[in-house]
């Protein structure tokens, strides 16, 4: 993986800047984020299962905002796609987008944990 791709997944430097150089706080925020996101992915899948487009949109929006907050651009982009699908009520293609989002989350975990 190239360095450019890495910072797209997780821009540690940008986040460090935002927490004003507080490494400990950075670790804490990432930890909370990694801990909390699987629950949100579950809710996303549930919304998909019952065909609730607006719940899908809202959940994706929340993930998008949180991803932006910890400088995880790829995850944010993936969440954005799900949000759009929810907004346009395109539930057919949304399944693949949700799985893509889940994969992006796995990548993020690898990058952060590694």
């Amino acid at each position: 993986m190239g360095k450019g791709k890495m910072t797209e997944i997780f821009d540690r430097q940008a986040l460090l800047e935002r927490v004003e150089g507080d490494e400990e706080l950075l670790e804490e925020l990432v930890h909370i984020f990694l801990d909390h996101t699987p629950r949100q992915l579950d809710k996303l899948r549930q919304a998909l299962e019952v065909g609730d487009a607006s719940a899908l949109r809202e959940q994706a929006h929340t993930i998008k905002g949180a991803a932006a907050s910890i400088s995880a651009a790829s995850l944010m982009a993936a969440a954005q796609q799900v949000e759009s699908a929810g907004k346009n009520r395109e539930l057919k293609g949304a399944g693949a987008l949700v799985e893509n989002l889940a994969q992006e989350f796995e990548r993020l975990k690898e990058v952060v944990g590694g």
């Binding site: 935002r18 929340t62 905002g65 932006a68 907050s69």
Partner: protein, 318 residues
């Protein structure tokens, strides 16, 4: 300027954000900046907290479960709080239409995600400026309200307060069937003091006299107002005719015994007292405030005519 310097008087701020990571980040960062921080996970929880612990500053996310940021803004604006609530709305939404919706719902300011702490602190500074302005304005208004009912020379209530509040006292006495006493007292030969020693000494005598009266009544129950030049009115809730006579006689003796030290030498004064009284179930069932004042004024006039330095009321001389 050091942004992290603790606020002079601690400002309470309520952070409303459903994502735990963002919430934690804001909490820690704002605490470091010297704010007292409360946190809620959605709008409903935020309203509960505000009701128990008022926070003049609220930072809220837009999209949240249960009650979102827009509904929270509207709910906050609908209720009345002990002061203005300055609301900053934070969201990933950033179209012009969304901004307008946010501001129309009652937000004061708007920040896009991800929030940079330096920008957030700067926006909060703006909020505090507005809140401080509002506080100053409120304090000035209270001061003006206080001055509008205060006699500038003696510091006791003025005639305007007497007119407004005596009506309230009479109404209360009627409704709860409680007695109400009223004393009108007038300094004897006050014109002579002014003519002999000058107006400065006259003013000093009035101030001393008002101070004695003020010091002799029950705080928080009885009250005192300057009625005219050297005329004062004491209003005595929960006091019947006998009680009113007792107090008036006590005051009459006190005034006669005291000595006022002035630049022109020691002065002694006396005062005449007229009493009016409302007794529930009595023949005069609906006394107007003016009736009470007129009655007391007539008795006071009798006290003057019969030699001054005395108390006259409904049952005759005492």
């Amino acid at each position: 300027m050091n942004r992290d310097a603790p606020c002079q008087d601690e400002w309470s701020i309520l952070v409303v954000e459903d994502h735990p990571a963002t919430r934690q980040f804001m909490k820690l960062r704002l605490r470091k900046a010297g704010y007292r921080v409360m946190a809620a996970g959605d709008g409903r929880e935020a309203l509960e907290i505000l009701k128990h612990h008022f926070c003049p500053l609220v930072i809220t996310d837009w999209m949240m479960p249960e009650m979102d940021g827009l509904d929270l803004c509207r709910a906050i604006r609908q209720e009345s709080w002990e002061g203005y609530v300055y609301i900053i709305l934070i969201t990933a939404k950033d179209s012009q239409e969304d901004i307008v919706r946010g501001l129309e719902a009652g937000a004061d300011d708007y920040l896009s995600k991800p929030v940079h702490p330096a920008e957030l602190l700067a926006r909060l500074q703006t909020g505090r400026r507005i809140l401080e302005l509002e506080r100053t304005l409120k304090e000035r208004n209270q001061e003006i309200a206080r001055l509008s009912i205060t006699d500038p020379l003696t510091g006791i209530y003025n005639r305007r307060y007497l007119n407004d509040t005596l009506t309230v006292e009479v109404r209360r006495a009627l409704r709860y069937k409680r007695p109400l006493g009223l004393l009108l007292c007038d300094l004897d030969h006050f014109k002579r003091i002014n003519d002999t020693y000058g107006h400065n000494v006259g003013d000093l005598v009035l101030k001393e006299f008002a101070g004695w009266l003020q010091g002799s009544i029950r705080g928080g129950i009885d009250w005192l107002a300057r009625y005219g030049g050297e005329e004062f009115v004491l209003v005595l809730p929960e006091t019947d005719l006998a009680g009113s006579f007792d107090l008036a006689e006590r005051l009459r003796r006190l005034v006669a015994e005291k000595v006022i030290a002035t630049p022109a030498g020691d002065i002694t004064i006396t005062a005449s007292f007229g009493i009016a009284s409302f007794t529930p179930g009595g023949p005069e069932n609906h006394p107007a405030p003016e009736t009470l004042l007129n009655e007391a004024d007539q008795f006071m006039y009798q006290a003057k005519k019969s030699g001054r330095n005395r108390v006259v009321g409904p049952t005759g001389n005492q």
